[in-house]
Amino acid sequence: MALPSVSRRLRHPFPFAILAIALSLSTGVASAKLRVVASTPDVADMARQIGGDRVSVVTIANPRQDPHKVPVRPSFATRLHRADALVVQGLGLEHAFIPALIEGARNGNILPGAPGYIDASLYVKPLQVPSSQNRSQGELHPLGNPHFNLDPVQGKRMARAIAEGLERVDPSGADDYREGLERFTTLLDEKIEEWARLAEPLRGVKVVSYHNDLIYLANRYGLLQVGTIEIKPGIQPTPGHLENLLRLMKRENVKIIIREISYDPGVARSLAERTGARVVPLAVMAGGLGPEGYVDSIQANLEALVGAVAESGSP
């Protein structure tokens, strides 16, 4: 094959190699910390809480984005290229950007199935798993509903998978990661008891949301999801669908419309005007409502919901 001739012919590779070595010396060896890239703010916060000083974490999605629509930015391919681990929430939540970034990253350690690919959904029992892979049922949740991060009990399972993943990549830090997990889980356990009391008024409250992302949260706190503004996950509403939803909301006396903050307020507002319901913002990724970090974001979501329920006099 012509390979040897190519390298003889192109005089570029040699100076490029020197440049590469120089650049990697200047930026690459800056710290001995485990380089972790996290797909969402939720798993990023957990990796930080568990990994502490041992890890440096870069987050791809920002909290105000829609996790299904995060753009593929090659600047993250370079981070992934040199990453020791990639943490994803999983269940296909990050289909819009993670597969393409992994392809662009050229890093065998973080390919799905490789030790550095840490899937936070590993211990979560998926709900709403489609009975067939038929796209006529919508397109965004082919493995089941991936929005389990909104339920703090699932958060504990996510943390466990992340801690085990970090330990797998960096066995010398096993004790630290176990300790970090213990600390995070203890905090979550305390909060979960507190939240159970806080969220008591949510039991039996009927709600409508834009996207089908409430199932885990609703199961935990007894919300009743009556419908979604989207026809199916990822399928935008038609006027007919909205008319049906309006009728349903009136019949069921729905007083709460949940607007995931990455969605346009328009439709929710007009539905609210016609039904007298209240619109409540919800962060589907940590930090969307302001307070950063997984725990504070759950707190903010629940406070917003409980506040709106109190004002609406629901159910």
Partner: protein, 428 residues
């Protein structure tokens, strides 16, 4: 471990609830007969309240039990893999199919040079079977097999790519779209327009189809910079076809091969604005002594939300071609060997809105690399609607003018994607 501890606490709470159920389930004392009606009524109400509370407790208990069961299942089962992989990706290989069909109406029969026939025309722009899969720990492969109205079934791409070379290197071999510019190596159905910009079509000869070997290197820095070098039989699907049709006579000396060099960078200007810049050279040192330089710029605003405004793309590409042509008379005798220097390019803007709706405009200037320059300008407007991730309808109006007659063309393009269809990182 804290998880176990939690399980224990849950079951203690369960015990308390059970006691409640038993209490609520026991009958009222018979001795209440001598009490007056009010007391009885109060007692009844209290019991009802108790019963309601118990019902809630039972419901909660059921939920806890379900949770515990689920937790126990997942806790006991040691996962055999480290990742849940989408079934569409777990399939080996992943298979998808595109149906890309169009109807166009145009006013003039001229501009054949940029591919506009007159009258009404239904076309199958592309029926494409796309297969991709990891081959072994070191390779992945993909193939795109397609047919169109103009051409029969053909292998558009069939390539193997390394996945685990060190130092950010990747090697690609087979038949594939060479890394020239930006849109020249995009598949038809992935383009933002119904057609490939005329300047690319004329200068490169369709998409940058090639057969050869390509190496690329991702610099190990935070800034995304990728350098590609390639060696091919020919670049440009029409050129490749001509060459392959020549069979044995298609063989050429090493210096008559196509060489390529490209550098391509990406930078985040802010959280939502980013820019991409690429420059490439492809050339044939001997015979045609061709040099095709191309420069591409892309600016994007990508908030990544579901608001009514969802972003903006600005893209432009310019190409300069210098090439020697052998021009013959009608008898086939060589008249002259003449060098032509020609150029062309396009710029477009596309804005994205809610409900998967986008509008855009494009301007294109093109020249023929060979013979008379045959300058053409095309101004286009297009509207795209995606009812779902897997379906797209696009309307485009083109107005062309220049050295030949003017032409107006209207196109409706209807595209469906069966399966998870993505040409990956390079065609974002």
């Amino acid at each position: 471990m804290s998880f176990r501890f939690h399980v224990g606490r849950e079951s203690r709470r369960g015990g308390a609830a059970l006691a409640l159920i038993l209490a609520a389930g026991s009958p009222l004392p018979v001795g209440a007969a001598d009490s007056d009606a009010t007391t009885l009524h109060e007692q009844l109400e209290a019991t009802q309240r108790e019963a309601e509370r118990t019902r809630d407790e039972v419901a909660e208990l059921k939920r806890h039990v379900a949770d515990l069961e689920a937790a126990a299942r997942s806790a006991d089962a040691t996962p055999t893999t480290t990742a849940r992989i989408a079934p569409v990706n777990a399939d080996n290989p992943a298979v998808s199919f595109v149906v890309d069909t169009a109807l166009d109406v145009s006013t003039q029969s001229s501009w054949q040079s940029i591919g506009y026939p007159d009258g009404w025309n239904f076309t199958l722009k592309n029926g494409e079977l796309f297969i991709s899969a990891p081959i072994d720990p070191f390779l992945r492969g993909y193939a795109s097999i397609n047919g169109t109205s103009d051409e029969g079934f053909d292998v558009e791409e069939a390539a193997i790519i390394t996945t685990s070379l060190p130092w950010g290197l990747t090697l690609k071999g087979g038949r594939f779209f060479a890394d020239v510019g930006r849109l020249p190596h995009w598949h038809d159905e992935a383009l933002p327009f119904v057609d490939r910009p005329p300047s690319i079509d004329r200068m490169i000869g369709g998409e940058s189809g090639s057969e050869g070997l390509e190496a690329s290197w991702l610099m190990p820095i935070d800034l995304f910079i990728e350098v590609t070098g390639g060696l091919y039989d020919a670049v440009g699907s029409e050129n490749l076809e001509t060459l392959n049709d020549n069979g044995f006579f298609g063989r050429r000396s090493f210096q008559e091969l196509n060489f390529l060099g490209r550098i391509h960078g990406y930078v985040d200007l802010s959280d939502t604005f980013n820019a991409e810049l690429g420059g490439s050279w492809t050339g044939i040192p001997r015979d045609e002594e061709r040099s095709l330089w191309a420069l591409d710029v892309t600016l994007r605003h990508q908030p990544g939300t579901q608001s009514s405004y969802q972003g903006l793309d600005l893209g432009a590409e310019w190409m300069w071609n210098s090439q020697r042509f052998t021009e013959r008379d009608d008898g086939g005798a060589i008249m002259s060997r003449i060098r032509r220097r020609r150029q062309g390019g396009y710029a477009y803007v596309e804005a994205f809105f809610a409900r998967r709706f986008s509008v855009g405009a494009r301007f294109d200037y093109s020249e023929s690399p060979e013979g008379a320059a045959d300058r053409a300008r095309t101004a286009s407007a297009f509207v795209t609607w995606k009812p779902s991730e897997f379906q797209r309808v696009r309307f485009q109006f083109d107005n062309s003018w220049g050295d030949q007659q003017t032409n107006q063309r209207f196109t409706i393009q209807w595209t469906a994607f069966i399966g998870s269809h993505s040409h990956g990182f390079a065609q974002r």
